[in-house]
């Protein structure tokens, strides 16, 4: 047991060092600065995918994360541009707002299961896009543009986060912020999964009626999990809007919602860190295939179909099953 713990701590340390030191170092050495944008996007998308993974954990197929990411992006953008609130305060507000919307919508739709829930969440993504087009506060199809970079965050005169527009390299700053967000998000996920709440979720994933019959308050539980999931989506979306400095109704569309779901599948639904790996592989795969021009989508989809035919339990299942095999 202690050996396993030691190995885990070692893996975590290696991960943190490579994310916060090794990768910036390598980029600084190679001078390939555009790489930061890719990695920042991966980190943020994996935060949103983590939310989707959490709803999978209670046995619901969630294709509505794009909706909550869009809501989060708009809330943050409106607060920053119209109310003049600091981005760092708008970020949690965006998450909380997405969570509140999730509670309101979740109360009726979480009664649905399986394909029904998948369908309604997919429709939700489209509806939020339409709402963003129609509502006056979101500025319609023109979107909200030229959002200022995050300002400094200080408590009692101590500067915690410097003003991004004053930093010589905002790309690096965004990279660190996104990675910190990702680490915090996955730490929270790990904590949830390995807690009493996580066990209740597993009982719900296996059989809702049975869980209900032994006294699990599933109606409450599923709304809470859906709200946490949407919180992640909202925060990820808000951060994305801040990096792009603009939000449009088409910033997050059905395709993105499906991508979030695919990230979770590809990484493996049985592993907390599955969505992170899935996002990395899918995003990089898509970027690498860009060289192929118009055959990009064709090859991407063929590879996707092959993966599901060959590895129905996700990429992480390969590694873990091999370790288990070696032990036996």
């Amino acid at each position: 047991m202690s050996l396993k713990d030691a190995r885990r701590i070692l893996a975590l340390a290696a991960f943190l060092i490579s994310v916060f030191w090794l990768i910036p170092y390598l980029i600084a050495v190679s001078g390939y600065w555009n790489f930061y944008f890719t990695l920042t996007s991966v980190a943020l998308l994996s935060v949103a995918s983590a939310g989707v993974w959490l709803t999978f954990y209670i046995g619901r197929i969630n294709i509505g994360q794009g909706a909550f990411a869009l809501i989060g992006a708009y809330v943050s953008a409106i607060l920053v541009t119209k109310a003049g609130i600091s981005f760092w305060i708008s970020l949690p507000i965006a998450g909380l707002f997405a969570g509140m919307v999730a509670v309101l919508i979740g109360l009726p739709i979480l009664r649905l299961r399986g394909v029904y829930f998948a369908m309604i969440t997919l429709v939700l993504t489209e509806v939020v896009r339409l709402a963003a087009l129609a509502l006056p506060i979101t500025n319609g199809a023109k979107g909200i543009v030229s959002i200022p970079l995050p300002s400094e965050l200080s408590i009692f005169g101590i500067v915690l986060i410097p003003d991004f527009s004053a930093i010589e390299n905002p790309k690096l700053a965004f990279y660190y912020t996104a990675c910190a967000l990702m680490v915090a998000c996955y730490a929270a996920m790990y904590r949830i999964v390995n807690s009493r709440l996580g066990q209740l979720c597993r009982s719900m994933q296996q059989n809702e009626e049975l869980a209900l019959s032994v006294g699990v308050n599933i109606a409450y539980l599923r709304v809470i999990i859906f709200a946490i999931s949407s919180f992640f989506g909202g925060v990820g979306g808000a951060m994305f809007g801040a990096i792009a400095q603009s939000v449009y109704p088409s910033s997050f569309v059905v395709k993105d919602s499906i991508d979030f779901m695919l990230n979770c599948f590809l990484g493996g639904l049985g592993y907390v860190f599955g969505p992170m790996l899935g996002t990395l592989v899918l995003y990089f795969g898509w970027d690498l295939l860009f060289e192929l021009g118009k055959y990009q989508l064709l090859i991407y989809s063929c590879v996707l179909i092959l993966v599901i035919l060959v590895l129905p339990n996700g990429l992480l299942s390969v590694r873990l099953s091999r370790i288990l095999w070696a032990r036996q």
Binding site: I109, G114, E126, I258, S301, L304, I305, I308
Partner: protein
């Protein structure tokens, strides 16, 4: 008012056909076919190619659409859905596969037909005008009539033919159907082909009115999901009811809400949420559990 009802019926007839194919595939295989909209688009492009470019009579172009999609559907079932359903115990993996197929079909459409909006010449000219109370072009009326006739033909096929009976048995209970001597593998393939064929037929019919382009697939799938949720998944009468209800709501919404901007679908969705809170399985769906 009469105009709104006529528009609603016209929209409803085509929507019902799209929903029929989706719900048939869902009932038989328990698969949510994300690629349904893309199949519809392919149907439209095939009819465009034959009728618009090669100038073959419309009816034959329509048949070519049906045949193409039926073959495509059969192949997809045979080589992709069939193996995955047999090997995995979770329904999620078929959804991933369906999403992958939707991407694949999008890529194929892009490569074969290009990304341009395509239209074909009208099949009949002239406009029906009843005292300025109902105004509707003749080709729309014709398409509407063909759609309704196809729905009737489909229902009678499902009710009175041997294949239809086998498909209904399969939808009710796979194991029981197999025990009664239904060749499950073969009829799954036929069912999928039939569902895809319906998508192709609607695509071929509508290309004469709205034209067709690459981006139509996703929104069409979403509308089909809406209809299926209204009527209840996996039930044929539900799909038809859902299609006509959505068509009617859209027509009324466009007429009544147009001064507030494009909020028809927003209103429909909110109404749907309230409805699903009361009746999660839709109008005619079976409760699960």
């Amino acid at each position: 008012m009469e105009q709104v009802i006529a528009n609603g019926l016209y929209l409803g007839a085509q929507y019902a056909m799209i929903a029929l194919g989706l719900t048939l595939i869902f009932a038989l295989m328990n698969v949510l076919n994300f690629a349904h909209g893309q199949m519809y688009v392919i149907g439209g492009f095939v009819t465009y190619t034959f009728y618009g470019q090669f100038e073959i009579p419309f009816i034959f172009a329509l048949l070519a659409s049906c045949a193409t999609l039926a073959i495509l559907g059969a192949l997809i079932e045979r080589f992709l859905f069939g193996p995955v359903i047999r090997r995995s115990s979770r329904e999620e993996s078929t959804m991933l596969l369906a999403a992958g197929i939707a991407f694949l079909l999008d890529a194929v459409i892009l490569l074969v037909f290009g990304e341009k909006q395509r239209g074909v010449p009208k099949i009949v000219n002239g406009v029906f005008n009843w005292d300025f109370r109902i105004i509707m072009p003749y080709d729309r009326i014709l398409i509407c009539v063909i759609a309704i006739l196809s729905i009737v033909a489909f229902i009678s096929f499902m009710h009175f033919s041997k294949t239809g009976r086998a498909l209904r048995a399969l939808a009710q209970d796979r194991v029981a159907a197999e025990l009664m001597g239904v060749n499950v593998k073969r009829y799954s393939m036929i069912g999928f082909a039939l569902g895809a064929m319906l998508a192709g037929l609607v695509g071929g019919l509508l290309v004469t009115i709205t034209g067709v382009n690459l981006g139509m697939g996703g929104p069409t799938s979403i509308k089909a999901f809406l209809m299926v949720m209204i009527g209840g998944a996996g039930v044929i009468s539900g799909a038809i009811a859902g299609g006509f209800i959505l068509g009617m709501l859209e027509a009324v919404g466009l007429a009544v809400l147009s001064q507030y901007g494009d909020i028809t679908y927003l209103a429909i969705f909110i109404a749907l949420m309230v409805f699903l809170a009361i009746r999660p399985q839709g109008l005619m769906g079976k409760p699960w559990g």
